[in-house]
């Protein structure tokens, strides 16, 4: 029983890291309808920038601020060169553009800052903590705590600030938002910048765990099943989806894996997502649209 609980809790905590990646994705999808495949590349770029700055001797706080600045500039550039020219094009076209974008960002990140694996020490010790008989990783706890804090922050941003409210207006009804004078390009810039910062947080946590390296950008592939389960448009869905995927993946690898040869994590989440998809074609929290003809 303890083994089961440990596996479950470990999975849930790991799941919060999936949620973090998925949240950045949902933000962008809600505000601009873009299925942003470059979210993983953004994560890699942010983490690499931070690590490179630290290696140059820049103090942590300054490095963090500079990285945030870089992500904001990046968002402005992306809005200008990719989103604006592609406005009103099909969603699939926009998705393919983000695929191209992810190539550019990955190439730039590795070209400018090197391809070798960098260690990233956030000063969080990864010692096992015991709650009764159940062992939990301290690192996972901190990561989960950060995720929760970030979600609260985003919720405040969306519900209490002017920017947040116009952002929700855009997500609800783009045309109506435009007609009351909301500047769509501005909103996109902000959302991409926020997504970049969420990517930075996720990148730091993932980077601290597995080293800052190219494979960070593959985290986006982990986030996709999370999104399918939670729906593309719901931050709450992204969190629940992340938890479900994290827990199910850990349990499946522990109990199902040995039966069919192991190493099933790369695809198990996808199959879980497919099952959900068959039951609820627009995700757990997504809205079902009635097709008007």
């Amino acid at each position: 029983m303890n083994v089961f609980l440990e596996t479950l809790i470990g999975g849930l905590l790991a799941g919060t890291m999936y949620s973090l990646v998925a949240i950045g994705f949902v933000l962008i999808y809600k505000a601009s309808g873009v299925f942003n495949f470059a979210q993983g590349a953004m994560l890699l770029f942010a983490a690499l920038t931070f690590v490179s700055l630290r290696e140059q001797g820049v103090p942590t706080v300054l490095a963090l601020l500079l990285t945030v600045l870089v992500m904001i500039v990046g968002a402005l550039l992306i809005e200008r060169t990719v989103l604006r020219p592609l406005v009103n094009r099909s969603q699939i076209t926009l998705f393919m553009a983000t695929l191209g974008l992810s190539f550019i960002i990955e190439g730039l990140a590795q070209g400018l800052m090197g391809a070798q694996v960098r260690a990233l020490d956030l000063g969080i010790e990864d010692v096992p903590l015991f709650f009764g008989e159940i062992m939990v990783s301290q690192f996972d706890l901190v990561a989960a705590g950060t995720a929760v804090a970030l979600v609260i922050l985003l919720a405040l941003l969306f519900n209490k600030t002017r920017i947040g409210i116009s952002l929700r207006a855009v997500a609800d009804d783009t045309r109506a938002a435009l007609s009351i004078g909301i500047n769509l390009n501005r909103i996109w810039q902000i959302v991409w910048a926020v997504a970049g910062i969420v990517g930075l947080v996720a990148g730091l946590l993932w980077g601290a765990r597995q080293g800052v390296q190219f494979s960070l950008s593959l985290v986006v592939l982990k986030a996709l099943p999370v999104l399918i389960i939670g729906g593309f448009t719901s931050i709450g869905g992204a969190i629940v989806g992340g938890l479900i995927v994290g827990a199910a993946e850990n349990l499946a690898e522990a109990y199902l894996g040995p039966l069919i040869g192991g190493g099933i994590t790369p695809w198990f989440a996808y199959f879980l997502a497919l099952v959900f998809l068959y039951i609820r074609p627009a995700g757990l929290f997504g809205e079902r649209t009635i097709e008007r003809v």
Binding site: M96, A97, G100, F103, G262, G263, L277, A282
Partner: protein, 354 residues
């Protein structure tokens, strides 16, 4: 409506069309003759091994994906997974069915890939757009895992790789560069002709109708779900044969890793750059994507005087590919084929401008 006499306008249209078609056929025939006569003319195997064979196979894979994505509108990022099915199935057939001729093994590999594609196309009845795209990713990862995990597929080789047991036809050895080139070329010519027939047939029109608006397609009497599954199967048939050729005519030895997600992206880029919903576009896209790295490599060597960092070259290549994808999507969503057509149109009109 009861009259069956062709209208005057239609008859008037006929003449220049057939004339044009005859000219095109001649051009195409010449091109084909040249392609088949090429190996002895080239002299060096480098062109065959490093450029022409991968170009042909990638064109075929692009064609397969284009039938599904460009013609039927179902975006797939799992192309390489179906290529893997074709490669491993062809390998299994050659290995386990004694005396099976190569063309039949390829056909069998393609059919098995088609069956797998049909299976993964089943969700397309209920799932659309991005959600469907994610199911193709599921296919990609699942298939990659299957062919890496179960040794039966690679005949328990310790390396986990497969290589063609025999490449021969009617006693001719096809394992030479020229032989492998001719094998790939024959497959490509035959399958391109079939694809050409298909996209001009009622089936092809139904695919395109589904791509443009699937609710309307159902209302006018097209069984949408069946045609989507069929497009998945046909696309996978093409990808399967391309996969087998990639493994045996190009690489020689392949493993599940030869068909990873990056291969899928590469095929997707071929159709974006070449032209969605165009058969000729695949060839342009494939040529572009297989020649650009070689060009960059040479340019890099020339610029840096021979000391070129391959890692940096790859990063540069990634950036250029990414930028090109975006450029094409913004400026010319119909790809290279449209650019070429516009150019041809302008050349045709050129003397009249004065």
């Amino acid at each position: 409506m009861t009259t069956s006499i062709p209208s005057i306008a239609a008859a008037y249209d006929e003449a220049p069309v057939t004339l044009l078609r005859r000219r095109r056929l001649l051009l195409l025939g010449g091109l084909l003759a040249l392609a088949f006569a090429l190996p002895p003319l080239l002299g060096s195997d480098y062109w065959l091994n490093a450029i022409l064979i991968p170009f042909l196979v990638l064109s075929l894979a692009g064609l397969g994906l284009n039938l599904l994505t460009g013609y039927t509108g179902q975006t797939s990022v799992g192309a390489a997974g179906f290529m893997a099915v074709g490669a491993f199935a062809t390998y299994g057939l050659l290995l386990r069915v004694p005396g099976l001729p190569l063309p039949l093994a390829l056909l069998g590999g393609g059919l098995i890939a088609a069956a797998v594609g049909w299976l993964f196309g089943i969700p397309s009845a209920r799932i659309k757009g991005f959600y469907l795209m994610v199911t193709t990713l599921a296919a990609q990862f699942f298939l990659e895992w299957v062919f890496a995990k179960f040794p039966w597929f690679y005949n328990h080789a310790s390396s986990g790789t497969i290589s063609a047991p025999r490449l021969e036809l009617f006693g001719y050895n096809l394992a030479t560069p020229a032989g492998r080139y001719l094998l790939a070329l024959s497959c490509v010519v035959l399958l391109t002709w079939v694809a050409h027939n298909l996209v001009r047939s009622q089936i092809g029109r139904n695919w395109m109708a589904i791509r443009d608006m699937d609710t309307a397609a159902a209302v006018i009497g097209i069984p949408v779900e069946r045609y989507k599954r069929q497009a998945f199967a046909v696309s996978s048939f093409y990808l399967g044969i391309a996969g087998a050729l990639w493994a045996f005519a190009y690489l020689g030895t392949a493993s599940a890793g030869s068909f990873d997600i990056n291969r899928s992206f590469q095929i997707l880029f071929i159709i974006i750059i070449g032209g969605m919903g165009s058969i000729a576009g695949n060839f342009l896209g494939a040529a572009f994507i297989s020649l650009l790295p070689i060009f960059l490599n040479h340019a890099g060597q020339w610029l840096s005087g021979g000391h070129v960092d391959t890692g940096q070259l790859q990063n540069l290549q990634k950036v250029i590919f990414g930028a090109l994808i975006i450029w094409f999507l913004v400026k010319e969503p119909e790809g290279l084929i449209r650019l070429l057509r516009n150019l041809a149109e302008r050349l045709r009109r050129w003397p009249l401008r004065f």
